[in-house]
Amino acid sequence: MTSIEAQVLQPYKYGFETNIESEIVPPGLNEDVIRLISTKKGEPEWMLEWRLKAYRQWVRTTEPHWANVRYGPIDYQAISYYAAPKRGPELTSLSDVDPKLIETFDKLGIPIEEQKRLAGVAVDAVFDSVSVATTFRAELAKSGVIFCPISEAIREHPDLVREYLGSVVPANDNFFAALNSAVFTDGSFVYVPKGVRCPLELSTYFRINARATGQFERTLIIADAGSYVSYLEGCSAPTRDENQLHAAVVELVAHDDATIKYSTIQNWYPGDAEGRGGIYNFVTKRGKCAGRRSKISWTQVETGSAITWKYPGCILQGDDSIGEFYSVAVTSQRQQADTGTKMIHLGRNTRSTIVSKGISAGLGQNTYRGLVKILKGADGARNYSQCDSMLIGDRCGAHTFPYIDVRNSTAIMEHEASTSKIGEDQIFYLRQRGLSAEDAVSLIVNGFCKQVFRELPMEFAVEAQRLLGISLEGSVG
């Protein structure tokens, strides 16, 4: 291992386990388990039916293996599909939250106690299969913004959920989306009413804690006409020898003139140096720019997980709508990532921008896979794609699979790609100017990722910087 590799292969800092009494359903998946989950969540009959239909679809589909990742078979009957910390009477305020959970989220840098909460950020904290706290709800309600666990939205806002759930990612979209639709447990629900600029950053933090469980996050965000919302998700999990499955579905809907900015800092446990353990992160995220001049912007910083399979995309349906995808994916040790985006242009004068930065170190394998599709009616559509790969050391890999499908001759497509290697010469140059080797690597990686980091909300840019162990460039200079 070179000195440069040693810089980036830092130990995982979030691998602790919370010792809390949990209720875990026995492993295995069948219709009874789905009924049990639905009952535990107090769901109406339509929701149960929706889940069962998804389950029947899942049973008929097979796990996809076209991604450029390698892993052993997953035994879906060995996974527990519901785990929740035991608790006493129903929570009525944040002060009822188990102190152990508060302590856990504190340690992760996500304070959920009212007096410690992050300024300007409302947080929904999801622990295994349930949301344990959501801050700032009253304040958000003043402007009509709904921000709550999706389990609660199913009970309290059934009309909105029924209208939009599965409208962007239908249950039969793919194997993992079908699985999620059948067994999803918690995640966030956001509704921003017409003309409202959401006064706070919204954020959900997902924590897997229990052994031998899967986490099936479901998030649904609706931005009504002329509204704006910025949402961020973060995640982490304890260090374990076994692999754990995280199969999420995220759906976004933006109406006329609405903007959704969705940022992810993904830091699931990546497994150890020998490739033991780590999260399988098989995620379907998609946004629909339903309205004219609507905009959906995905920004992701993917540093964790043993395997990442994830393509946040945009369906650009409304005329003049805009889709964006900014990504930094880091694979070190034996991590594998196959990630990218799908931009589907349906409306006229729709525009999409893709900026993907892959960093591979150790034995990491990093794949960019992206689809840009311009359909017949999408007159004047434009896409700009940029895929850059950086290699650290000589045992890792970078791969790029850009798919372009254009069915309208007025489309304008641009694609740029580059591969670079942090070399001893580059490090030496910076050390010769007085920087330490660590700072030299930081500076190079920081420069490489800058286009993506500047898309993150300020509070989270700092988090991303800390995760990559790098120093953010000042605002002046």
């Binding site: 670079s420 010469d425 030496f428 140059y429 010769q432 007085g434 460039e473 000042g474 200079g477």
Partner: protein, 256 residues
């Protein structure tokens, strides 16, 4: 009062990938002096420059280098830089996405921190930078461009000299700074170097051609051939080489 020389190289042997490049180099430099190292291609000139700066690819197999009384070979590259050793690279490296001014401030602050001085914030640093630019008569056009990215050969070399001006080293090593420069750029760079000459600062100018030395007059000229110093003299030696080439030195006995 006896003062130790700034740089003292004794019997330096250096190899790369098992091949010996330098075979016993001796050189002594005092503060405020300008020494030129000339020699044919492959003589080991650039190797000497890189070894003094601490490039990890080179292996010192014998000999000593003392800089300001310290064992230079025992110091990491960044420790040498912080102690005032600067190398203007023959092939400066690009750093994408990082502006020149941010890079320079990071370097200045790394050195200030080492000296126990407070770090400069962006505004304070801008003042320092503008003063330096004025001193060498350059405008601020490349401060906000990414480090060396998309720079022409001449711009890269100018950028090295700008870094030299800002970092204020005590020993500045210029490795083929004239290569790839047209005559106007050469004059600009040389003029900047001349304004940076001072009694406290020594220069080691590595060059293949005499033309740079028309503009930066050295106090001493040394000729390196096949990894050894074969001739030392005053500025006139450079002119002699220009007239006769290097071959006449190779055939004769080694002169040190």
């Amino acid at each position: 009062m006896s003062v130790a020389p700034m740089l003292e190289i004794r019997d330096l042997h250096v190899a790369i990938n098992g091949t010996e490049i330098l075979r016993g180099v001796d050189l002594t430099m005092d503060r405020g002096t300008v020494h030129a190292i000339m020699g044919p291609n492959g003589s080991g000139k650039s190797t000497l420059a890189q070894v003094l700066a601490g490039h990890p690819a080179y292996e010192v197999t014998a000999g000593t280098v003392r800089y300001e009384g310290q064992d230079l070979l025992d110091m990491a590259p960044e420790e040498r830089a912080r102690a005032g050793v600067f190398l203007a690279f023959q092939y400066p490296v690009e750093v994408r996405g990082i502006t020149n001014s941010y890079f320079l401030r990071s370097a200045v602050n790394a050195i200030r921190k080492h000296k126990g001085q407070p770090e400069l914030d962006a505004l304070d640093f801008l003042e320092v930078l503008e003063e330096k630019l004025k001193a060498i008569g350059w405008d601020d056009s490349f401060l906000n461009r990414p480090v060396n990215e998309g720079f022409s050969g001449g711009e890269k070399k100018r950028n090295e000299i700008l870094q030299l001006a800002v970092l204020e080293p005590r020993l500045a090593i210029l490795d083929e700074t004239d290569s790839g420069l047209d005559i106007d750029a050469l004059k600009t760079v040389a003029a900047a170097v001349n304004t940076l000459r001072s009694p406290a600062r020594a220069f080691l100018v590595v060059t293949h051609y005499q033309r740079l030395l028309d503009h930066i007059t050295p106090d001493f000229v040394h000729v390196l051939a096949d990894g050894r110093m074969v001739r030392s003299g005053g500025p006139e030696l450079a002119h002699e080489l220009e007239a006769k080439g290097y071959d006449w030195l190779r055939d004769g006995a080694v002169v040190s």
